[in-house]
Amino acid sequence: MKKLLALVLAGVMAFSMVACGGTETEGGDTDATGSVYYLNFKPEQDQQWQDLAAKYTEETGVPVTVVTAASGEYETTLMSEMGKESAPTLFQVNGPVGLANWKDYCYDLTGTDVYGQLLGDDFALVEDGKVYGLAYVIETYGIIANKTLLEKAGHTVEEITSFETLKAVVEDIQARKDELGFAAFSSAGMDGSSDWRFKTHLANLPLTFEYETEGITPGTVKGTYLDNYRNIWDLYINNATCDPAELSAKTGNDAVTEMVEGKAVFYQNGTWAAGDLAAIIDDLTMIPLYIGVGDEANQGLCTGSENYWCVNSQASQTDIDATLAFLNWCVTSETGVNGMCKEMGFVIPFAKALPADNKFVQEADAMIAAGKKSVGWNFPTMPSEEWKNGVGQALTAYAADQTDANWDAVVAAFVDGWATEYALANPA
């Protein structure tokens, strides 16, 4: 019995040591061809990336590993993966602020083939003359409108050409809410699953227009167009499916459900929402987000990117070369481009991009073709997540109690918060 016990214990110990040692052999796969390890940011496209990686390995023999971080866990996963022996060779940052974290790990992509394929420096993350990241997907957002419901209410999409006309339509629908059976706006939920639509995407508009008219001064914003921000926010919250005081607990799913069930006409979101709204996609269209600033007659949708590919500069040179070759293959070869544009449904800012199937993307393209001017994505310049949270918090408080004092808190979070957060993020 004693012997048996000792044997079992020794076995357990030996096993635990083997198990510990086992992971060691995975790393350091640096033969002549090198290998690629992609830490993917978008869980929706995980399977497609796995398939594309398998095809590449089949074609070239270079091993490609794709790991997808869980939603909202990208930074955490990246941080722990980067500390490992076999770190990702290809990863993502979400614009200049994300770059601040990972600059030391970003390979300068100047002169690489894949950078040569990029449609222009608008889509690159360039700092101090170095190319740190390449946008690989362009997305668009605006106000998604249900044409069928609009017609039921006696209006058309064509009527809406400015903030004033939008407001007139919205308030008319809301006034007849009970008679029509639907409200103008879906709930502007301020739960974490939805608040980015307002603290980030909607806030991009006053910010972009300010950048256009006042120029960009790092570290400060004036808040020139915050009155317009207030107007559109008032419009959203007071003409919706629910009481503004309840917005703090409303989620992204709530708004989607309201749209799909035909309880609301308008919903601010982007091309990525096409999947969620697939059931009613034929009724929908996307209109520009008018806030009453600038040349509204020629305003287009908000188009840009916040997903940038970065190559790990601390990987071995063979792995870096393998990764660059893989990227180039993704955006030039038929299989690669097909995988990204058709299977994943991305609009890619590279020379050989294919047209998209996504309805909202097609509308955005049509609008650009008709000479409308897209609104850029400037929210990647927002100084920190904390800044966004501050604005979001103030917006929620204002929604629950719409006083001037509470709006002043939004302005303070926007303007003063910007200076504070910029100073914290960029220590002298």
Binding site: S16, N101, G192, A245, A249, E385, T396
Partner: protein
């Protein structure tokens, strides 16, 4: 047998010791070192001396979350232990259905903190909306009391079981002797039972104290620190510093906060253990 055990004890201790060293001692020492560094990943740490500690003593959010945590801990420790002891006294009286009640009171402890947090968020928001008060995301008071109700609901059952075990160990002859001497129920409780269950009290106060300081999931799920970090407890504050901020200096700040936090919890719980242990008696 004993001799053999002695001879082979290093062999038996080794696997656990190895696991403990790899899983705890090494990371702890590395963590201590990292609190004096700025870093993005643990490999590229840059030594900055005491700069991180200098920053965090000026960090108002950290001080606020310390105050919030202390005020939460005091109220929840008292509340949980008093109610748990009360329930334990009731459920050691041979009432009908005692076992069912014990099971029911224990059950909330089996549900994870995140799930509980979201469930209570819905419940509390519902009530707040009915009485026309600002919802949790905008309501510090509701957030504070919500956290207390939630943790009390979750932990009372667990502490109650420990108190029941303690009360059942009070020798019957002592209680009988007290009854013969004419002690009232209150006197029996105060002079006999309470001193006899001091060891249970030590354990329960220790558990509730450390649980209160380390509370994280419930805090994250119920309020996430809203509004404006006012209901953010220490553990969540550290997490937010470490992960919600971009820039290598924040990792260092977060790490330094974590080290201070660890020292704080150790010191407070040792002080508590000493204080309550000294009151323990032997029958």
């Amino acid at each position: 047998m004993e001799k053999a055990l002695k001879k082979y004890s290093p062999v038996f201790v080794l696997p656990t010791l190895l696991a403990f060293t790899i899983g705890f001692i090494i990371p702890f020492i590395e963590g201590l070192y990292l609190s004096f560094c700025q870093f993005t990943t643990v490999k590229n740490a840059k030594f900055v001396g005491l700069a991180n500690y200098k920053y965090i003593i000026t960090d108002e959010l950290f001080l606020n979350s310390f105050k919030f945590t202390v005020s939460f801990a005091v109220v929840s420790i008292v509340l949980i232990n008093v109610i748990a002891l009360g329930l334990a006294l009731l459920l050691t009286r041979n009432l009908k259905g005692t076992n069912i009640f014990r099971t029911v009171f224990f059950m909330p402890n089996l549900i994870g903190g995140i799930v509980l947090g979201y469930i209570w968020q819905i419940l509390i928001n519902c009530i707040l909306s009915i009485v026309g008060q600002p919802l949790l995301a905008l309501n510090t008071q509701a957030g504070y009391w919500g956290l207390i109700i939630l943790t009390a609901w979750q932990q009372i059952g667990y502490m109650m079981i420990i108190y029941i075990a303690g009360l059942q160990n009070v020798p019957d002859d002592l209680i009988e002797a007290a009854a013969i001497d004419g002690a009232t129920a209150w006197q029996t409780f105060w002079k006999v039972k309470l001193p006899m269950i001091m060891s249970s009290i030590t354990v329960c106060v220790f558990l509730t104290l450390t649980n209160s300081f380390k509370l994280f999931d419930q805090n994250l799920a119920l309020t996430a620190g809203d509004p404006g970090h006012l209901t953010e407890m220490l553990a969540l504050n550290i997490y937010q510093t470490f992960y919600a901020r971009a820039g290598m200096q924040w990792k260092g700040y977060g790490q330094a906060k974590a080290v201070l936090f660890c020292i704080l919890v150790v010191v407070i719980s040792f002080a508590q253990l000493r204080a309550t242990r000294s009151k323990e008696v032997q029958a």
